[in-house]
Amino acid sequence: MGMKTDIELIDKKGLRLDGRKPDELRPIKIEAGVLKRADGSAYLEWGKNKVLAAVYGPREAHPRHLQKSNKAIVQVRYNMAPFSVGDRKRPGPDRRSVEISKITSEALEHVVMTELFPRSSIDVFIEVLQANAGTRCAGLTAASVALADAGIPMKDIVVGVAAGKVDDVVVLDLGKEEDNYGQADVPMGIIPRTGEIVLLQMDGDMTQDELFKAMEMSIGAADYIYGLQKDALRRRYEMIAAEEKEEMEEVEQ
């Protein structure tokens, strides 16, 4: 945030570097159930971001001392692959990854029905394969789909989305240059149905009005992303549903 540049991030027609209008999202594609070993998984492309999320659980908590006697813990590991960024990133967690892992885990814990699985752990792995700004929101969005794909009981699916400020204009879903040279970034995690906000960060410089406008933009976009998440799950499970429903009718007679 806040690096100096001569680039015009918003042109005279009000369009951004990649041609988007201020309230436009980058293209998003989601696929559920892409890995064999993991209990649940999702692959997501968001603009040029490529993120893979996987879930194991509920399973025995490791290390054991983190176990809670009355509920499950949700452990998230957000990681960027060394080849995901311009300058190769050394393998292993850095402080940024640890922070993102923590806030993502807190967001997901709000929706997962942890009381159903005392003493266990629900492990969520988010791997950024290609990064282009907004990876924590992409990660949270993918992780929610992976949790549902794993059959983990949850109140709802969480949407990750960010808005910010660039050249004094409030814009939705910052791209890479906007993230580097812009004035503010506000990543959020939202449950569209209830409007609850389960992840919120901000860095930069905004007036209160600008901040509220940014948040409203994100809330407005959340429904669309939620639709894509549900679509991905439906596509994966529609076929299985046909057979299961039949079997149930049989068993009930």
Binding site: L35, K36, R37, A38, S41, K48, K50, L52, A54, Y56, R59, H62, R77, N79, A81, P82, F83, S84, V85, G86, D87, R88, P91, G92, P93, D123, F125, E127, L129, Q130, A131, N132
Partner: protein, 267 residues
């Protein structure tokens, strides 16, 4: 990495099937599972490839930068290989610093490429003794269903074979040197690794997960297009007889050629 307990029953079932000449997934002793190779899928990397062997899924990415050569080899570029068994790939993989299995995998894949002269490292010199290309090969195991060695080696080789050295991107940082335009990775050879396991004296290629879990011994052999042997690694705590090793080396050459054809078709 914690080990999964294999049941006696499954172990016996695999043995009994082999006694009747059958592998549990119906393959022949010398048959690989379906292999799928996709290249250039990660734009942020200078080269990339995703390989599936059966359900084993591996992604390799190549990143390049410019820097000083190693003092004892001033006339070649630098290559480093790192493989990560990331925890999403299997319930038994744990987060944390590299464990012996990932270190072994990294080093063996590296050996196959390096000794197999996959890349002409002399062509990665900008100015001898001063400035060379430094290449990082990072291998991410995404889904583990047996035979990581072959999948990782194939992913790394495919990524190299389709990579571009980003000379133009660094030219501005080093105005005193002539970096020139982007050029394709100077690939010289296509060494291919082929892995075999021994279960009750029967030698099988491309072990699946269950087979790997009950195998007595394992041997990975990297060969080039002339059938020359470039790297080998024996694993697990059983043993091989000399004739068994000869047999494996010959088969590895054949299989190497088959896989090399698949690789070349995918480029």
């Amino acid at each position: 990495m914690s080990e999964k307990i294999v049941s006696e029953i499954l172990r016996d079932y695999i043995h009994n099937s082999l006694e009747e000449g059958k592998r549990i997934d119906g393959r022949g002793y010398d048959e690989y599972r379906d292999i799928k190779i996709e290249t250039n899928i990660i734009e942020s990397a200078e080269g990339s490839a995703r390989v599936h062997i059966g359900n084993t899924d591996v992604l390799a990415g190549i990143k390049m930068t410019v820097g000083s050569p190693f003092p004892d080899t001033p006339n070649v570029g630098v290559m480093t290989t790192n493989a990560e068994l990331i925890p999403m790939a299997a319930p038994t993989f744990e987060s944390g610093p590299p464990d012996p299995k990932s270190i072994e995998l990294s080093r063996v894949v590296d050996r196959g490429l390096r000794e197999g002269h996959a890349v002409d490292m002399e062509k990665l010199v900008i100015k001898e003794g001063e400035l060379v290309w430094i290449m990082f090969i990072d291998i991410h195991i995404l889904d583990y269903d047996g035979n990581l060695f072959d999948a990782a080696a194939l992913a790394a080789m495919s990524a190299l074979a389709s990579a571009t050295v980003p000379a133009s991107q660094f030219a501005g940082q080093y105005p005193d040197y002539d970096l020139g335009e982007d050029f394709p990775m100077p690939v010289k050879n296509y060494p291919i690794m082929s892995t075999f396991v021994k279960i009750k004296d029967i030698i099988l290629v491309d072990p699946g997960l269950e087979e790997e879990n009950v195998a007595d011994a394992r041997l990975s052999v990297s060969t080039d297009s002339e059938g020359r042997v470039r790297a080998m690694q024996k694993g697990l705590n059983g043993g091989f007889s000399y004739p068994e090793i000869q047999d494996i080396v010959r088969k590895a050459t054949e299989k190497g050629n088959e896989l090399r054809d698949i690789l070349k078709k995918s480029l």
